[in-house]
């Protein structure tokens, strides 16, 4: 098994390097550069060309592209991700400020939505084409249809009108002030979790529907097992694998993909950080973030595959 894990981790490298190279090239195609932005040249103000050349040299922007890329890659190999060109702070430090928030929202939304989605999806499948099924389907399709920023706006509107709530200014740690942290993040988690639960519910429903038509489920019914035993022990256990895949994929997405929710709730998370970095042409930050998100994505896929083998004894490692 360890051999398999090592092999998978090694196979990650080409994908990650591909992602890094792609984002590097993409960022260099984007017009405008950070030196210009720092000196305020984009506003059409007076520019000292000498100063611009000096700043570019200072930031390493005057070197050929492949040198810039290799220097950055060499740093990454040594776990040195460089400094933000915009703030001058080490990128790792900047990420560590925001990672706890993004992780907490992602993990909480995952747990809550999974707990809601799997029972709901199963019930809808077992009672296909009854009112239970229709209600679950309408609610879950609604979760996909309602934009999370609109849900956020409505929640804030509601809170402001009825509770005179104000958006938080600074993130407080879960371990230092558990209650304040909860008050801060509960609404973003709800608005993200609804969509997430909707995705998982739909997946659960459709896989359980498929499994309920299998021969072994019919055999289980014929043996005279109670419905609960048939559904949970025979159907759900076999239907759960694709559901785990979608839970994993969504989790990986949540880490860096919450730009819109973070914008609405004025949270300082990784998604917002990424959008700002792109706006500032802060290439090292964008590269590091994209690499981090791709890493999480690939790692989550690996964990999902390992879970598959653990849950289904028919699957073995090659």
């Amino acid at each position: 098994m360890w051999q398999y894990i090592v092999k998978r981790l090694l196979l990650m490298l080409p994908t990650l390097i591909g992602v890094a190279l792609a984002i590097f090239l993409l960022m260099h195609v984007v017009p405008g550069d950070i030196a210009l932005l720092i000196l305020g040249g984009d506003q059409g103000g007076e520019l000292n060309p000498q100063e611009l050349v000096k700043l570019r040299a200072q930031l390493g922007l005057n070197q050929p592209l492949y040198v810039q890329f290799l220097v950055w890659l060499w740093g990454v190999v040594h776990l040195n991700f460089g400094t933000s060109l915009w703030t001058g702070a080490p990128i790792m430090e900047e990420i560590m400020i925001r990672l706890p928030l993004s992780l907490e929202v992602a993990i909480a939304a995952t747990i809550i939505s999974t707990l809601i989605a799997i029972p709901l999806g199963t019930v809808a499948a077992v009672r296909q084409d009854t009112w239970v099924d229709y209600v679950v389907r309408v609610v879950s399709i609604g979760g996909l249809a309602i934009p999370s920023f609109w849900a956020g706006i409505l929640i804030i509107l509601f809170l402001v009108i009825y509770f005179e709530w104000a958006p938080p200014l600074e993130f407080v740690s879960l371990f230092r002030h558990p209650w304040e942290n909860f008050a801060q993040l509960v609404w973003p988690i709800v608005s993200v979790g609804y969509r997430y639960a909707a995705v998982t519910t739909r997946m659960t429903r459709s896989t359980v529907l498929e499994v309920m038509r299998e021969d072994y489920v019919r055999t289980a019914w014929a043996k005279g097992l109670r419905e609960r035993a048939v559904v949970v022990k025979h159907a759900l256990k076999n239907a759960i694998l694709p559901v785990i895949t979608i839970i994993g994929t969504e989790f990986a997405f949540l880490i860096g993909g919450l730009v819109v929710t973070e914008t609405v709730f004025t949270l300082n998370g990784l998604g917002r950080f990424m959008v700002d970095a792109i706006a500032h042409r802060d290439i090292p930050v964008v590269q590091t973030l994209v690499l981090l998100i791709a890493c999480i994505f690939v790692l989550v896929n690996l964990i999902v595959d390992l879970l598959y083998a653990w849950l289904d004894p028919r699957i073995s490692y090659r």
Binding site: P31, A145, I153, F253, S316
Partner: protein, 301 residues
């Protein structure tokens, strides 16, 4: 692929579209899928509103009237007016045009390109397949919004560029699904027979593989329509999509809406409702269409 399944799975028979009378099929759909029919009704209503916008919209979309700032819903302005005194209902009706156009164009562009790549990848196999699939992996591992963001920044903020930006993330998702269907179809005896008869590569792909992947293609297309509309709204909300004064639903929510929400809640409520309803309709319809087209789900035990 990295995991081997000990139990061999039977090769599924290729999915084909039902060939019988279209009208009959539609009647059956309406009878057996009430939710799907409701979705279709929403889509048709929206399309009608978009087509007849000039006839049914009560006011001019771009007309600014400073005296009418933030007028609450009334008989004259059913859904109120915005910070420039523009009629919200009118802008929502014209917004249907933008949403449908961008939604259809981008999901069609994305799924067609993806399907073509999927069929090509499955048919050619070997090295081409391997490289195309790695390329798709890279596209998939990319955060979706970053991709859209970068494309819009590189190409500039316009509707055609926005369509490209929304279409590109759809490509790898479609390519994967279509590729697996095409792989299964490739194993058919008649494909082998066509090869033996000396059909050209193009003919093999177009005549023998493409009809087999039409069902999964249609399913992905309808599923992507809703999410393309949602992506457009999100990008416009973030200020990266359409620009003022285009009556885009996402844009209507981005400007003054959250700021004036307390004073003029109708500005925050109605555009969001329009987006949700549209995406809801496409998803309801797409779901039922999948149920109707997928042979695995067609018969109840």
């Amino acid at each position: 692929m990295a995991i081997a399944t000990r139990q061999a799975r039977p090769v599924e028979s290729p999915q084909t579209l039902p060939r019988h009378n279209l009208w009959e099929a539609m009647c059956k759909f309406v009878r057996t899928k009430p939710l799907g029919t409701a979705g279709a009704a929403i889509i048709v209503l929206m399309a009608l509103a978009a087509v007849c916008a000039d006839l049914i919209a009560p006011y001019d979309v771009y007309e600014i009237n400073q005296q009418l700032q933030f007028a609450p819903p009334s008989l004259a302005h059913w859904l109120g007016t915005d910070e420039f005194g523009r009629d919200v209902l009118t802008r929502l009706i014209y917004g249907a045009r933008i949403a449908l156009f961008i939604g259809f164009a981008s999901s069609f562009l994305g799924t067609t390109t993806g399907a073509a790549l999927g069929v090509l990848s499955a048919y050619l196999g070997g090295k081409t397949d391997l490289w195309l699939q790695r390329l798709m992996d890279i596209l998939l591992a990319f955060p979706l919004l970053v991709l859209a963001l970068a494309i819009v920044t590189v190409l500039g903020r316009s509707i055609p560029n926005l369509i490209v930006a929304i279409a590109i993330p759809i490509i790898p998702r479609t390519a994967r699904i279509v590729r697996s269907s095409a792989l299964a179809a490739k194993e058919n005896v008649y494909v082998e027979a066509a090869r033996a008869l000396g059909s050209s590569h193009l003919r093999m792909m177009v005549r023998h593989l493409v009809p087999n992947v039409m069902a999964p293609f249609l399913i992905v297309l309808t599923a992507q329509l809703g999410s393309a509309i949602l992506t457009e709204a999100s990008l416009s909300f973030l200020g990266l999509g359409t620009a003022e004064p285009t009556p885009s639903w996402g844009l209507m929510l981005s400007g003054g809406a959250p700021m004036y929400a307390e004073k003029a809640p109708w500005l925050a409520i109605f555009p969001g409702l329009a987006i949700s309803l549209a995406v809801f309709g496409f998803n309801l319809f797409g779901d039922s269409l999948r149920d109707a087209l997928d042979p695995k789900l067609r018969h109840r035990t």
